[in-house]
């Protein structure tokens, strides 16, 4: 194999430089890139409105479809959270709400936000839009399967939403769906509601597998010439690793959903022991409720990183571009992403310290959990060291990144409380847990999503979002969300348990009433503030300032498409050839403070580049 390439080496390399129009004659060896190994992809171009905008095979359109569908579910989740906060802060105003309703809202809010909003948004939305553009591909490698992936997700969302309208309503089992209560009377929506939830989750996993295979294989096989793995933007590394995690973790969710469906419909006893209900022994026996928890968290903990890793990757790129400085310690960042991903499969039972599993597991899982803190801390150090001696633009995008750092570090450190097995004992199942995971996997990734929206909107829509509105949006969201979740930890210290419809007849809990009112008001404001973004987008699309190509002066390939917004096929006649990593900002000796990935060394001969 290698001989074959060697024979063609000089010819191919030279020809590409000549065709690129770059100064190949200066030093052809210096600008060498490997020859193309696979032929160009044949694209199926849309012929009609339906093919272009509905059953579309263009990853960019699919990305936007994923994004909009996920945002729709996110708005539903937001409204549910308002209703919960109304009950918790001002129960006298929530007279219409029964305990059944409350638990249904809690459950649907959790499941929607974790799976249908965050996961779909990061991987389906940003993944689809950015992967082909960032690795220099014309599209995903299996565009038709990619289209099916979105429509499977769409059906999953439709089934989930349908569960609001069936007799008994949606399931109210908590998003963790722990058996036996999940499928027994006494839990809201234990009939049709839970069945639709399980079906919807199964559809989601199937659809997601289609998408995930596409993301992985596109990244592994369809990178353009010169785009080595260690030249990929960290966004791609984050999404790639998250996808690998998803491919390994989601099957556990799928099998547990199938087994629970069988328990429900055919009275099998995978998760069901002998149960006495209303004086009668049910027709179950011998199953293990804890088995479900193991399966669920074997999925559930990697799921946290399925959301977090793309956020890590994206925020690294945003910080680097807007601090005009290379990401500090790129290699460390890549290995940290991969290492965190691998470790995330060995920590799942830290969600189960007080579940009744063999308590000796606690030693193992506390140790693995605290080990994972090390690569995570390294990422945090590298983000702030990227800011250090940078030339930081304090614009809307950067503000969201800074907000991410504060909320992520805060939530990461409370994670050390909960991961450290004996500290978890008093805090588990209290509001401390709620505050922790909302801070670290709710607010922090949301900060990244918002930053990414402001950053890439000019690419997707060709117009610049309004900065002033963006800053208002940021400050209200950041300060509001922080004042929701920071004090909430202290409710957990008091010992206020989570998932309580009402709680205040205990003497030591009465002091929490005032805090709950405050938190609820903050939650209403933060929720409402998100509509500033909706308004900003609508206003910008109508009357916004047209974006120039590459408005942030970034290096990665998505900003170097033939048109803005990029058309189907992304890169015009010829695919770009990559000569360097995407973080050559402020290189000594260069004319501008950025050198695009497509710039050959011979074009910037006087620069002192350390890593390419």
């Amino acid at each position: 194999m290698s001989d074959e390439y060697d024979n063609n080496k000089s010819y191919q390399a030279q020809s590409s430089e000549v065709l690129d129009g770059s100064a190949g004659s200066v030093n052809p060896d210096m600008d060498y890139v490997r020859p193309a190994e696979i032929p160009e992809q044949d694209l199926y171009h849309a012929h009609s409105f339906i093919e272009k905008w509905i059953f579309c095979q263009d990853a960019k359109v699919i990305g936007v479809q994923y994004f909009l569908t996920a945002v729709f579910t996110g708005i539903v989740g937001l409204i549910l959270s308002w209703l919960m906060r109304l009950q918790l802060g001002f129960p006298e105003l929530a007279g219409f709400m029964t305990a059944e309703h409350y638990y249904q809202f809690v459950t649907m809010h959790g499941m929607i936000m974790v799976v249908y909003f965050l996961t779909a948004l990061f991987l389906g939305g940003f993944g689809n839009y950015l992967i082909p553009l960032m690795v220099g591909a014309r599209d995903m490698v299996f565009p038709y399967v990619n289209m099916l992936s979105f429509w499977m997700f769409f059906v999953a969302v439709a089934v989930l939403m349908a569960s609001f309208f069936v007799p008994g309503g949606p399931t109210g089992a908590g998003w963790t769906l722990y058996p036996p209560q999940t499928i027994l009377e006494g839990t809201p929506g234990s009939g049709m509601g839970i069945l639709l939830m399980l079906i919807s989750l199964s559809l989601f996993v199937i659809g997601f597998t289609m998408g995930g295979l596409n993301y992985m294989i596109t990244i592994l096989q369809a990178r353009t010439r010169g785009m080595t793995l260690m030249r990929m933007p960290l966004t791609v590394w984050g999404i790639f690793t998250a996808t690998v995690l998803a491919m390994l973790a989601f099957p556990a969710l799928l099998v547990s959903a199938i087994m629970m469906t069988l328990d429900k419909v055919l009275q099998t006893s995978f998760f069901m022991p002998t149960i006495l209900k209303a004086g009668e022994v049910l027709e179950y026996g011998g199953g293990s409720p804890i088995l479900f928890q193991h399966l669920f968290w074997f999925f559930g903990h990697p799921e946290v990183y399925i959301v977090a890793l793309p956020a890590f990757g994206i925020v690294s790129d945003l910080i680097s571009v807007h601090a005009r400085k290379n990401i500090f310690g790129y290699r460390m960042m890549v290995w940290a992403i991969v290492g965190i991903g691998a470790l995330s499969f060995f920590v799942w039972a830290h969600h189960m310290y007080v579940s009744g599993m063999n308590p000796w597991f606690g030693f193992f899982f506390a140790t693995t959990t605290l080990i994972i803190a090390v690569p995570t801390a390294m990422k945090v150090y590298n983000w702030i060291l990227t800011l250090w001696r940078g030339n930081i633009r304090i614009n809307t995008v950067m503000l969201w990144c800074l907000g991410f750092i504060v909320t992520f570090v805060n939530g990461g450190i409370t994670g050390i409380f909960l991961g450290n097995v004996s500290v978890d004992v008093p805090l588990s199942d209290t509001y401390f847990v709620i505050a922790h995971f909302h801070m670290v996997m709710g607010i922090a990734p949301l900060m990244v999503i918002m930053g990414a929206v402001y950053h890439w909107f000019p690419l997707v829509a060709g117009k610049m979002l309004h900065e002033g509105l963006g800053k208002w949006h940021f400050w209200i969201t950041f300060l509001g969300a922080y004042s929701i979740y920071f004090p909430m930890h202290y409710l957990g210290f008091i010992g206020v348990p989570r998932r309580y419809f009402e709680m205040y007849d205990s003497p030591y809990m009465t002091s929490a009433v005032g805090m709950n009112e405050f938190i609820s008001i903050a939650a209403f404001i933060v929720g409402a503030a998100q509509f500033i973004l909706v308004f900003n987008i609508i206003k910008t699309l109508k009357t916004g300032k047209k974006a120039e190509q590459n408005p942030w002066k970034a290096n990665s390939l998505e900003w170097y498409t033939s048109t803005v917004p990029p058309e189907h096929g992304n890169f015009g006649e010829r695919l770009p050839v990559v000569h360097r990593w995407p973080y050559d900002f402020s290189v000594p000796g260069a004319k501008d403070d950025f050198i695009p990935q497509t710039t050959a060394p011979s074009e910037v001969v006087n620069t002192e580049v350390e890593k390419t």
């Binding site: 606690g362 090390v374 702030i384 930081i392 800074l402 450190i413 050390i416 008091i494 348990p497 309580y500």
Partner: protein, 278 residues
Amino acid sequence: MHAGIIFLLVIVGSVLFHIFTPWYWTDIASNWGGMDSTITLTFWVGGGVFVAVCLFMVYCIFRYSHKEDRRAEYKPEDKKLEKILTWATTLGVCALLAPGLIIWNQYVNVPKNALEVDVMAWQWGWQYRLPGADGKLGTTQVRNIADNNPFGINPDDPFGKDDIMIESDVINLENNRPVKILLRSVDVLHNWYVPQFRSKMDAVPGTVTFYWFEPNKVGEYEVLCAEYCGVGHYAMRGGVEVQDKAEYEVWLSEQETFQQLSARYEKLNVDGNKLVKK
């Protein structure tokens, strides 16, 4: 600039909130003070890291905000710095993990003299069983549960006869005597939790789980269910009364044993039959 000031205020505000918060843990009433101290230690170490990272970030905002005529430093890696940070973090993590594991080791090793208490949970309530004079609890089975056998004790088990049944959601405990809570559930997951004791564990149907503590403060405490168990979860309360030895023993002597309860039911049956015959 404004951004830096606001972030600074957020950090200062967080620290002040922590110092002056009126919301903090309840007065501890058990031996698990070590959990509280580990939390305090984690607060110092973790809080210190949080403040340091955020202050460094604020410093960067002030010092390195964008100027057209300035260039950022170009330095892709600093292996030495990365190494120092990795080891420092590892050390910090170990310092937090060690006390955590030591206390966990105490948590999973129950003292030999601990009094075993059978806590039986159902949707939505609690009841308790104590060993009788033989010091042993009789074995149980869900299928045995009936009006005359509320705990499902195996009728053939000799250890069960003298078990003391407390058909109430409040139990009394003796001060300064360790108790091993044996949890079981007849239907779904529950969790017997008293915030002042700090400790908790899920009750799982089909198995018996346990934890232990030593109450060390006389008083009445509220029991909360800490594992979601259906629509009545929030109302699933109980109580504990910690008493000195003398009072506790008076209370204990007033409770009914399994044998006495069986006899009472038998008598009820006999009386009932007599009534029917008349």
